[in-house]
Amino acid sequence: MDLHFDIAQMQLSKHGEELCGDSVRRVDTPYGVIVAVSDGLGSGVKANILSSLTVTLATRMLEKGARLDDVVEALGETLPVCRVRKLAYSTFSLLLLSREGRAYLAEYDNPPAFVGRGGRLVDVPRHGREIHGRVVQEAVFEVTDGSWIVLVSDGVLHAGIGGLWNLGWGWERVGAYLSKLGATDIDAADFVRELEHLVQRLYAGRPGDDATAVVVRVRRPRLLTALIGPPRSRSDDAEVTRQLMASPGWKVVCGGTTGNMVARVLGKEIEVELDFPDERIPPTGRLEGVDLLTEGTLTLHRCLELLRAGVRPRQLEGRRDGASRLASMLLRADRLDFIIGRAINPAHQSPDVPPDLAIKHKVVEDIVAELEARGKKVSVKYY
């Protein structure tokens, strides 16, 4: 199966500067992903212009299939020359990953990227090559489930300079720290946040340089299929249930009537939990073969609130209510298939029923939008 790249970044600006002089650009391609990090000469606006030009030009050209040599030549011809330093200069790290697990790395004057798998660093030999007067370090290697790559600007390595450590904490210490994070199963966003907190602390909250890091975690994609609402036509009950149960990965059912329908088709019994970990929403149920079974509207509504508040899976650990468990699974999944039944519960349209029960489909659409905004691949089918 194809690999999934879970990618997150952090950027700190040099103390007193509004703009970070480093730039990051990530482009998804039909074959995988391209990530570029650049550190512009100086700091502030000028550095920002140099570095953003570099990452934009490089990723656009590589995306179109250009060779590194062409990219380097184009950069030399395009970057404005600094009046003070008489130099057109910005560093770069370019990483190309294919979903089959091939990796290509080109580095120019940036600290070497950290490559690891699980809790260990992996040695990736570089070969220097002169291209239009610049020596670029290139490497070709393989990545697989559990691999991780961290691209950094030198501001990360220099953290702590003159303070905790005379020369900053340095490549080796950073590598050892990243290996500890690599050994855990936290996702890229939490991984890079840990690193950011540490760099902030080492700089005592006043970074002496722009600092940037991009974390790429490689893994098998986590798949999730969610069945929400019974189909409009009863004759589709068996088909949607079959699709759910035949899907690889996590299986989620949202909705009381939907749960009852699945149980009926499968000839199984639902067991409803009778404690209320969150008094705002109904409890969850259990159904053999289904990873999560929740009530519908109220749970989905609360789940959307959690997503909108920017909740992270780590904050949801240990929470037992349906909305938290649903949000946690949605956030941890990489590819999600929603099967949405459009049967209208006549009872929910009655004037006797609180109005928030009637707007389930809008809530589901908003949840899908939240997940897509996080870079997840989401498909939606209606029945």
């Binding site: 009381g256 009537t257 409803v272 009778l274 929403i281 109904p282 149920g285 009530e295 029923v353």
Partner: protein, 90 residues
């Protein structure tokens, strides 16, 4: 053995099914009937507009609120168990 099923689906929940559940739980414990009464939940009993829906054995009651529970417990549950305690449910 008597089985009580409380619907905790969207509509019944909004109408206070959680309070109905805790009231039944309280009465079961107070009467020491943990081995004679089974309290279960259901996601939907198809009576959404009339909720909260409660089933004692096979008999369905709709529109139940927490303050109805002691009477229901006395008249339906204790009676079915043929306990002399019928009448002390509340």
């Amino acid at each position: 053995m008597v089985t009580i099923t409380v619907c905790i689906g969207s509509s019944c929940f909004k109408r206070g099914a959680d309070d109905v559940v805790s009231e039944f739980q309280r009465l079961i414990t107070e009467n020491g009937l943990e081995n004679k009464v089974v309290l279960k939940g259901s996601f939907c009993m198809d009576r959404c507009t009339e909720g909260t829906t409660v089933k004692v054995g096979d008999t369905v009651f709709v529109g139940v609120v927490a303050r109805d529970v002691p009477r229901l417990f006395r008249d339906e549950v204790l009676t079915r168990l043929q306990l002399p305690g019928a009448g002390r449910g509340g």
